[in-house]
Structure formats: C-alpha cells, structure tokens
Symmetry: C2
Amino acid sequence: MNRAKGQMINAYTPGNGRLSPQDEALAKRRALLLGPAYRLFYETPVHIVRGEGVWLFDAAGRRYLDTYNNVAAVGHCHPRVVEAMARQAGLLATHTRYLHEAILDYSERLLGYFPTGLSQVMFTCTGSEANDLACRIARTATGGTGIIVTDNAYHGVTLATAQMSMSIGPAVAPGPEVFAIPAPTAANYPDGIAAGFATEVAAACAQMRAAGLRPALLIVDTIFSSDGVLPDPAGFLAPAAAAIRAEGGLFLADEVQPGFGRTGQGMWGFLRHGVLPDMVSLGKPMGNGYPVAGLVLRPELAAEFGAAARYFNTFGGNAVAAATADAVLSVIEDEGLMENARQTGALFANRLRELARRHDALGDIRAAGLFLGADIVENGRPAPARAAALVNRLREEGILISATGRDGHILKIRPPLPFGPDHVALFCDTLDKILAEQGGAAPVRTSS
Amino acid sequence: MNRAKGQMINAYTPGNGRLSPQDEALAKRRALLLGPAYRLFYETPVHIVRGEGVWLFDAAGRRYLDTYNNVAAVGHCHPRVVEAMARQAGLLATHTRYLHEAILDYSERLLGYFPTGLSQVMFTCTGSEANDLACRIARTATGGTGIIVTDNAYHGVTLATAQMSMSIGPAVAPGPEVFAIPAPTAANYPDGIAAGFATEVAAACAQMRAAGLRPALLIVDTIFSSDGVLPDPAGFLAPAAAAIRAEGGLFLADEVQPGFGRTGQGMWGFLRHGVLPDMVSLGKPMGNGYPVAGLVLRPELAAEFGAAARYFNTFGGNAVAAATADAVLSVIEDEGLMENARQTGALFANRLRELARRHDALGDIRAAGLFLGADIVENGRPAPARAAALVNRLREEGILISATGRDGHILKIRPPLPFGPDHVALFCDTLDKILAEQGGAAPVRTSS
C-alpha cells in the first residue's frame, strides 16, 4: 500500500469503501458529470451537508470534528462573514474599473498587517492566480524566467503554477524553467537547514545559468505544507532569500496555507523567519470560502509591470470580495483567533508529543500555531500505509483529517482557528485510542 | 488621439478628468494601494455605490443606464441570486472532495443546455482559469502545444492565457506557441469569411509544423468581442473547426462573453454556427458576479487528462458557487431573458441602423441578441477619437458603455439581459442627440 509517486494521498478508489446506496449513487453521478480528474477523500467518502464552527455534519446528521479545512479559517459559515457578504451582494457587485471604497478600505487594512515596503496589493480570485501573476511580474522585473521550488511543492493549478507544483506528481511535467531543491528537513540538510537550503538555491541558479536561463523567482510556502509541514528552525528562510536576491531573482512567500494568523506568531508565516519577501501570495482563508485571493508586493515591482501592462481580473477585488474579506479580518481580531492559534496550537503540539512518547507509530511532531504535522512511522521509517489507515479510522471516529508529505506519511492538522482545548482533547484521545488498538499500548484519557 | 497599439481603450489618465475632490482622493488612494496596473474607465471615472437591474447609482445618487456589464447578466444584485448565495453560504461552503448534491444538480442542469457529446464539466473560479485548464487538457489530448487565436483576441490573465490574448498589446509578448490569424471580418476575408478563416487556420497549422510544433487548440470567443463583435454570417465557424480537427487539434468555444443566453438564439454563441466544440469555457455571467466559471468538454478528453492528473480548485464548484449559478439559470428561464435578448436585441439593432442612416459617424452595426457592436467612423474609416468622445459624452449623459476592436472605434453594447424597449429608446435617443451635436444632423425623438 505504498503510495506511487504523484498518486493522490487519501483518495477514494471507486468501487471500494462502504458507501450507503445514496452516497454510492452520488459518487457515480460525480464520475459521470465531473470526470476522473475529480477525486474524493477517504476510503469511504463523506457526504457533508452543513458546517458550523469547527464542525461538519453529514447527510445522516452525524457530526465530524474538522481538523483539516483551513479555508473556513474563522469557522464554517461564520454568521458575521455570511452577513457581510450578503449585505454587499445586495448592494453592488461590480468590477474594479469604477471607483469604490470597499477595495481601498480593505487594501489599507490588509497592508497594515505587512512590514514597511510591502505596500501594494493586486486582487485575484484564487491562490493559483496570485502565484501565476507573481510569475508574470517576476519575469518583467528580473528579465529572467527561472523558478526555484521545493521538491514536493504545491503552488497552484494554472498551467504555469501546476508546472511548478512537484507534489502533483509526474503526470504534470515540471516546466523547463522550474528547478526543484530538497525540502528544508533535517534529513535533507544534516549540517544545518538555513545554510544548506541557501546553498541549494545558489546551486539551482548556477544550473539555470548553465542552461542559458536567468533566475526570476524563489517561491516557497512558508509552512512547507505539502513538503510535510516544516516550520523550524524559525529564521532558516533568510539566507535562502538573500541567495536568490544575490542572483538577481525575487523571493515570493506563498502564504496561501499559513497566512491570516494560523501560525499564531504573526499574520504571515514569513514573519517567523525574520525575512522581508518581495511578493506575498494570499488565498484560501482570505474570504473564509468566498473566492478571493491576492498578491502583496513592493510597489517598484508593480510599477515596472503596470507601466507596461494593465491587469484586470473580472471578479478579483469586487466589492463583495472586499466586504467578505474585511469581515474575516474583523473576526480574527475580535475573537482573538491568532492568539488562540498560538495557545491552542502549543497545547495541541504538547499533547501530540506526549502521545508520541507512548506510541512508536507517532514520530516527529512539528507545529507553528494551528498548523501541525505528525510523522507516522514504522521502525522509525515513513509509514504511508499506516498513516492512511489512521486517517480513515479517524474519519470513522468522527474526525476529519488528511496526510501530506513526499511519502504521504505525515498527518496534516490545520483546523478552523476557533479550535479549542476540548477539540484538542477529543482529537488526541481518539488518536490515542486508535494507536493503542493498532499498536497495543493502552490509551490514556485526559477528558471525559 | 489615435490609440497606441495595446493601449487600453477608455482608460482614465490620472490628472485628467473633472473629478470631485472626494473622487480625486479615491483615485489617488487607488494608485497608492493597487498600483499602476489597475486602470479606471472614462476621462472622468465614475464612483458607483449601488446596482439594481439595468441601473447603477453613483455616490451622489445619480443613476446610470448600464449598457456595458455582462457579468450582472440577470440584473445587478438580483434578489433571487443574492438570496440563494446567502442561504447556501450560511449552510455549507466547502470544497469538492466531499460528496455534495449541489454541484451535481447544477452540473446536470447546466449540461442539459449542451448538445450531446459535451457531457462533462470542470469548475474553476474565473474564465481565465477555464481557458488555462483547456490548454492543459488540449496538450494532454493532442500531444501538441500550438494554439491559434484571432489577432485581437482576449482569453484571460494567467501567464498562459495572457500570452494568447493579443488585445493586451505588445507589453505581453505572445507565447512562442501562439499563432494569431486575422479576425473574421469581411474586410479581412473579402472572398468569404467561412472559407477564408478556415484557410488561415490551416495555414497557421502549417506554420506551426514548420516551427517544429504540433497543433493543440483553436480557441475563439464565439462573438469575437475584443475583435469588434463579429457574429455574422452565422455558421462561418464550422469550416474553421473542421480545419483544426483535420490537423489533430481541438476546437474550444470561449463562451465567457456570449454565453448564458445573451445572443438570444440559444444559450451559447457556438450554437449560431452549427458547430460542436470539443470544449466550451464559461465565466462572467455564470454567477451574476459570484466568482464561478467552468469548462464543459467531451468526456474522452477529461478521461485522458484525469487518468494522469487530478484537478482540484479550492473554491471551484463549491456549494455556494453551485447554488448561486443555479439561481442564475432559474432567473434566465423564469424571466424569459434569452427571448428578451432576442427581441430587445433585434429592436436595438434596428434602432441603431436607423440612426446610422442619418449619422455619418455611425457605420456598420452588428448584433446577436443583446451583444451589439457599432462602428464609429469618419469618412468611412475607423475613428477611435470620435468613439472615445462618444463614450465619454454618453457617460456624462448617464449611460455607461465602452469601446472595443483593434482600432478601439467600435461601441461595445452588452447590457444586463433585463434590458427593455424603454432602455433601448433612452440609449438611442441620447446617442442621436450627441451625434447631432457632433455632426450637425437634428435628433429624432422616439420616446418622451
């Protein structure tokens, strides 16, 4: 049951699973209508009909603790966000070629969370579009085309961004201008991640030049989600950013996954690394499910690009997107969600490390706020089959999660941010029970 | 005042115009926050705060007849659409890796408007993403990379689609795999558009092969909006589609502009041409402003692509997108908007042709339903400066419109579909008055 390279982690195999006749019929309709590029999660897919806070509910009324969905970052169907969206949609939903306050008020507020220097924003509908736009801008600004990514990166689904998303697997050939370097793990860089990662960036630039290309961009998800959740040691990104700049390229922090307070130590993952990116891409949690995304950048870069070419994204930055995204910021602030991510995340990591001491299957635990990665191992080695079994057992027990990493053996934990200590206890107690079933050690209950 | 190639039509030049102090301040904030790639419409931009039906309202409470915005196709802020969106957003807004009915119900309904053979749909958030995905699929299906477009085409803003959007101008170099052919006008093809256009497709394929490339895709906006609105003679696309297929390539109908009933003669522009595309891209009006788009295709193409690669678009096809798009279809049906587009569009074209007989500045009028193009000429030749003056005078008179075409001299008329005879009269009377001011002939009023 080892995962073939590029095969999707935690995907449903049609014909397998124990689906109800109704769900089986839905799965068949899906295959007919949407085709085989669409995949479902889990051995037995879930049929979700309602969401509220950190909970999702299936068609039979059963509730699931959501420890996976970072899009509904302020909680599923948050009433303040829904209300802001509906109110603006009833008033005006048009494009950015008329003057309108909403996009400007939101832009000012958003940019207030960024360090000096990152003072302009361009709006898209998806993180893919934001990263794709960054490629266009980097080409204009640097005159180069070469792009450096990590070797299990994910940056989007457009033609350009899919070609730099190694995690999609060999079905999508990397672009000829894309150079992948090993992910920043201790195993890959035994002599130190910071120096080693920067050396790889410089080496990739040398390779580019040997191939007749010039460096344009180093792009990394600052939490390295698809590479396995790699937050530490904080600060390791700074030398890599310096290395790409020394070669005339730009540094793009992809904050689609860690952004908007999830790491608990600031609104953006790059802040943990004490580095100032040239561009920052935003997406998933920005509108709590409404399709809004964007690219924050140094105005010099926008000037060069904008002087030559206009940019227009029909739905990007429309008044409803701005109002919805603004409500998301209000909820993050008013409900103290970043601080909750820090505190609950620390508790969560501690509980997982405590479990890891008692269960051999649980290896290294990595965390920054409410973004956690837990290695599932067997004799100390990656155990993707065991991870898959765990993910599916947790689903049976009413907890939604998935796995990640090059080997697919890492639990990826990134719940909605209103996740609290009770939810941590429920997750850890359930995991403890399942690991005990699988491995023999007795679970220790910490909550009733 | 002739337009430099690639310069945006109807763009505001900062410092020009007669803006109120408040609007001047907004324009300056925009420049600071969004940068120079963002452009505003009109010599004096409008500051819109509310929309209803075919009307937009500015901050001072003045109303404008909207003859430009095809996104709000069923009318600005249609209450049924807003309500459907808000209801689903309060219930569940998650992605496509759980089973859910909404996406399937919508897909079935949408595909019911397509001819047999086009029986699968993949969801994106923007028309750009849909065309970009089509490129990826065409590459997989054909093994080729060559793409044929018209010489003032617009197909999107991703790296791949911007490179095939000649209308953006020389600031974005066409991709090396992109081959542009003359737009299907009588002037370009004096011996017949259908045969001439197909011959150019074959010639572009020969050029590709000479350059060592294989044909992948012919992509056309079936109303040729940015090429100047070129609907006739209906049927001329069929030989071109046959030509690309004979060369092993695919035919993509870009319905982002004409789709969803606007032409009045069917839900899709390609239906007027009696041709069956391999893929059809959808966008702008699909969600009446909610960011939803998609690609309808032959299942054989999805099979080849999906067998190798998965496709996941975080927001694409979420339950809110499906519910909103479904409400749009309901309004189109229940309010008879396609039939209205046919009837009101015919009336509109007749009135414009009547005006053209009296005003030398008004040249050829082309129309399919509520998608109309009106050439503005001087001594029978394209007159972009006169078109720009008209667009700005109409804005002063409370009518919003823009211009299009390679020379920027064509009024592009594509109002929300609830446009009625009174709106046609208001538009035509105002145009009559302005043309009389400019050219000397007395206006003839048809409504009081």
